[in-house]
């Protein structure tokens, strides 16, 4: 199945509903749309935050996400996938990133979205810095995110190298 795939790295806001419609408009084979939106929370470890600033590696961010989108399209029968990830300074309540997966049936759409999120967390070259009470600190990577990404590699050669 030829999958319609879109990956964008941008500072501007996005409209997740509009992105889903871009894939499904005019088709009758799309039976399931899953959307995930990551949003900037107003607290980090119980303390209020002023903002998150996302740094990224231009060029690598796009190609790394595109490679995982291609892998998702190879593993599940997807009609379309869109991933948009923002960079720059975001205040609580703003959207950080989104994934849309479209398939004929829900299992593929759910699983592919879950797979993409787990890989984005651990392999897409983005780094979050938190502004809190006048000080800035870098968010530390979580071991559970590595474990979540690892579960997709069981019985398969590692996709990385």
């Amino acid at each position: 199945m030829a999958t319609i795939s879109t990956v964008r790295i941008q500072s501007e806001p996005f409209d997740v509903a509009a992105e889903a419609v871009k894939i499904t408009r005019g088709r009758t084979d799309a039976g399931a749309v899953v959307t995930f939106t990551g949003i900037c929370r107003g607290d980090e470890n119980g303390e209020p935050i002023a903002a998150l600033t996302l740094e990224h590696y231009p060029g690598m961010a796009e190609t790394e996400i595109e490679s995982h989108v291609a892998e998702a399209a190879a593993r599940w029968p997807l009609i379309g996938v869109t991933v948009i990830h923002r960079y720059g300074r975001l205040v609580p309540g703003e959207d950080i990133m989104m994934v849309v997966t479209v398939s004929s049936h829900r299992a593929a759409a759910f699983e592919a979205a879950d797979f993409l999120m787990d890989y984005l967390k651990t392999r897409a070259p983005f780094w979050k810095q938190v502004e809190k009470a006048g000080a800035t600190t870098w968010v530390e990577a979580k071991a559970e995110d590595d474990a979540a990404a690892e579960r997709w590699t069981t019985g398969k050669p590692e996709a990385a190298e």
């Binding site: 990551g38 590696y57 690598m60 190609t63 897409a124 780094w127 190298e161």
Partner: protein, 87 residues
């Protein structure tokens, strides 16, 4: 003999070194990514600070993830950064 590599730094690795990128003359004795970390660490205290715990440092050659034992080969660009926290 040596060659020039473009080295890029991100997040707190960039902050500790105080540069976003630089061209580095790399001697032929530097073969792997781990060798390059050792070579850079000797360049000054800001590098030693950035690379004080090499186990947490991630690297990419020509915009693809690599491991410490990966050979630099014909690389033109290498990046060093902390574990990623996107999504």
């Amino acid at each position: 003999m040596s060659r020039t590599l473009k080295v890029r730094y991100f997040a707190w690795v960039r902050e500790r070194i105080g540069k976003t990128d630089e061209d580095v003359d790399v001697p032929d004795s530097v073969v792997t990514v781990a060798d390059l970390v050792t070579f850079l660490t000797a360049r000054g205290e800001e590098y030693a600070y950035a690379f004080e715990n090499p186990k947490v440092i991630r690297a990419a050659i020509d915009r693809k993830h690599v491991k410490p034992q990966t050979a630099l080969g014909q690389a033109t660009e290498i990046a060093f950064f902390p574990p990623m926290t996107g999504g």
